[in-house]
Symmetry: C2
Subunit: 285 residues, 2 copies
């Protein structure tokens, strides 16, 4: 089995590690615009060798795991270069733009649009870890547009690395993910900004910030190179979630200004049911 | 040694567990307005026996760990009831109001104002855990207003359970803590609200929400009974942090509306230094 990983970071690299463990005979070839990352990935044993676009014709799987703006350019080129039995998937956090970009591509049936809901706030080959996808959800869009035999091939791989499969249309995916992922990142970045701007003496933060603060700003460590194009591609949905979030924060602030503590209590109590939702997430882990 | 814990929840209960481990000969007496919590605490072995306010005169330590509005009433009553060598401390998340409340109390020198920066999103006796305070910071306010011998007694205990001590005036504490704790809780509650309001079908959230979402909304599990009075007592500071947070979110939203992606990239990159700040927090853990 021959696997190509284009963009060897957290997601591509972690998939490479799981695949190498599952299929010891597989050769994992890495392609990365960043030569340093490529060499690091080989040195870390995340991939076996450096690959070339010209060789994609011999690939069984091609994993495109690059920032979503780069994927718009790379994916069509990859589809040009592959063989008839190659299945290509892309793992970005926006799905509608990429599905549109290849909608009329002659090789569309060799492509399966996916979004593995897995990751950490870290990036680059050194962020790759074994078992990242175990029990996580992989959202697949427009599955009917992928050749049936190649769907099976991809699904077998996703299941082998422990993923639950969910099917969704690209627009619904982008709308929902804005709420449960993209908004969380912005809330975290802006929370970090608010505190950093205020607390010029970081030692004060060291001393006073606890695990609660850490938890809410963890995502502010995320890569701007990865997230800027996600916000760009999902701009309308993200703006909408931000408007709703800002309006909820403003309403809470007004309740405080008006000292309506009964309403503040009720607000918090009604959100407490997030416990059950989070338990649902934990079960997947 | 005789210890009284008034309000046996996460903080008071966890302190009781550490004290019982450190000083097996100590008797830990529990007092709680909630009879069910008191019995649960005894059943769980968090405290040894039920205590009475009348017996506080024999106490070495009295830990007041109740919601901050209740503390305003309970603490003066406790100070009336204790003996000359009893040291009383209160562990709430606001410090100026409580310090003012007992500023002129004849027993002020038997009180030490503290805020252990430790906790989880859980509450009640069952939330009590061993070693919660290990490596955490305990902020002490107006230490000079506590009798020196009793300061020593309290500090020895705090150090014995693994805490780092920091001294701060109550107003500075309340101002800083609004940024690194109170704001995080509101951002989390309102993020949870925004998503719940949108995603009526929770299964969608189960399937699409990952560890990032979980991390940013974890604090939305927190107790409204504990947090409403904190927001009330620190209202002016919390409103100020909310105004700054909302303004940063609005500015980010406007950058998106105006498609200024270079500025969006810079915003995120400049906040990435939160990594070092969080590393500082981790070192404490």
């Amino acid at each position: 089995m021959k696997i190509y990983v284009i963009g060897i970071g957290l997601i591509g690299g972690s998939m490479a590690l799981d695949i190498k463990k599952l299929y010891p005979e597989a050769t994992v070839c890495g392609i990365d615009a960043n030569e340093g990352h490529l060499q690091e990935a080989i040195a870390l044993g995340v991939v076996d060798v450096a690959g070339k676009m010209e060789d994609l014709t011999t690939a069984d799987f091609v994993i495109v795991s690059v920032p979503v703006d780069v994927a718009m350019v790379v994916l069509p080129a990859v589809l040009e270069a592959i063989g008839d039995d190659t299945i290509v998937f892309e793992v970005g956090s926006t799905k509608a733009p990429i599905c549109e970009a290849v909608a009329n591509h002659p090789r569309r049936r060799n492509f399966i649009a996916t979004h593995p809901i897995a990751g950490t706030e870290f990036s680059g080959p050194s962020a790759a870890i074994h078992g990242l996808f175990q029990g996580k959800t992989n959202i697949i869009c427009e599955v009917e547009r992928t050749a049936f035999k190649l769907q099976e091939k991809a699904l077998d791989l996703f299941k082998a690395i422990g993923m639950r499969i969910r099917y969704m249309d690209p627009k619904s995916h982008d709308k929902h993910i804005a709420y449960v992922s993209h908004l969380s990142h912005i809330s975290s970045f802006m929370l970090g900004k608010t505190v950093i701007n205020k607390e010029k003496h970081e030692q004060d933060i060291f001393d006073m910030a606890g695990s609660g603060f850490e938890s809410t700003v963890r995502l502010a460590k995320s890569s701007p190179a990865m997230w800027t194009p996600i916000f760009k591609q999902n701009r309308k949905q993200v703006v909408k979630t931000l408007e709703e979030y800002i309006s909820n924060l403003t309403q809470f602030k007004d309740l405080l200004i008006n000292e309506d503590y009964a309403a503040i209590y009720e607000e918090m109590e009604s959100v407490n049911r997030i416990k059950e939702i989070l338990n649902g997430i934990n079960i997947k882990k």
